[in-house]
């Protein structure tokens, strides 16, 4: 906090007040701890790119509802583009991933195509904006 105040060129009490206003306005929704899942024994991270059967009008809702029930799914995004959804999935090892993939993920409803990208390394992670 003291570092941030110095960098912003204000006193710590001014900074605290300004942060409180940003929180009240909903611009700053929170400060989230980012878990390093590998340290907790989840060494595999896979991104699944999913295409849905759009002839089924409830495909998105039903797929999302089922995907939320899989604890190993850490992120879900929906898209406009060549794929409809992306799931970030973690697993303890490859055999754990294989079990998860067969028993929990391939059975998700209304999928017409699924493609996996396996995470190798994180080159950059900085979710700020160039203001």
């Amino acid at each position: 906090m003291a570092d941030l105040a110095e960098r912003a060129g204000v006193t710590p009490s001014t900074l605290a007040r300004r942060l409180a206003v940003l929180r009240e306005d909903g611009v700053l929704r929170g400060v989230r701890g980012v878990i390093d899942w590998a340290v907790l024994g989840y060494s595999i991270e896979v991104m699944l790119r999913v295409t849905l059967d759009k002839t089924e009008p409830r495909a998105f809702d039903e797929f999302l509802a089922e995907a939320r029930l899989v604890p190993e799914v850490t992120e879900i995004q929906t898209f406009l583009g060549t794929v409809d959804l992306r799931l970030a999935v973690i697993a303890r090892d490859l055999s754990d991933y294989q079990r998860l993939y067969r028993e929990r993920l391939l059975v998700l409803p209304h999928m017409s195509d699924i493609e996996a990208l396996m995470h190798v390394s994180l080159v950059k992670s900085d979710e700020t904006v160039p203001l």
Binding site: R32, G33, M47, L117, E127
Partner: protein, 151 residues
């Protein structure tokens, strides 16, 4: 790898939601004294359970209405290509996340922009000019959920 008991797991979940929560407040929530809770949190932090903290911002309110996920295939491979590409892509301010992946693409990028014309500018001037860049696929994000994960 670190072994966690039920209280540790609850603490990790709580800190993942609010990294600024104090040891005193978390202790009261989970029936621990402040020092005991502080020691548990220190143990988790020292083991590297948290990679860091992330500001959860309403990007639209800040004028960044568009988030795009890019899949990038490199045109030429080799150690030098990877290093040059990674150095150059890291320097682009609109690029928030870069993952090196195995599969149909070599890299996955998360890019923020003010709007679609702004994204087009970033794509043309910054992404397409990256060293060794080959095929690029773009998907515009419509919604996102971060899930708590298997704790």
């Amino acid at each position: 790898m670190i072994e966690l008991d039920d209280i540790d797991r609850a603490l990790v979940r709580a800190l993942a939601t609010d990294a600024t929560a104090s040891a005193g407040a978390l202790g009261r929530q989970f029936g621990l004294s402040q020092p005991a809770c502080w020691r548990r949190i220190q143990r988790l932090r020292n083991a590297g359970v948290f990679r860091g903290a992330r500001l959860d911002l309403d990007l639209e309110r800040l004028g960044f209405g568009v988030t795009v996920f890019l899949g990038i295939k490199l045109a030429t491979k080799g150690r030098v290509s990877l290093e040059d590409f990674e150095r150059a892509v890291r320097a682009i301010p609109e690029v928030q996340v870069v993952d090196h992946v195995l599969g149909a693409f070599d890299y996955r990028l998360r890019v923020v922009a003010r709007d679609l014309p702004d994204f087009e500018r970033v794509l043309r001037r910054r992404i397409m000019t990256l060293p060794s860049v080959g095929n690029v696929e773009a998907n515009v994000m419509l919604s996102e959920e971060r899930r708590p994960g298997p704790l």
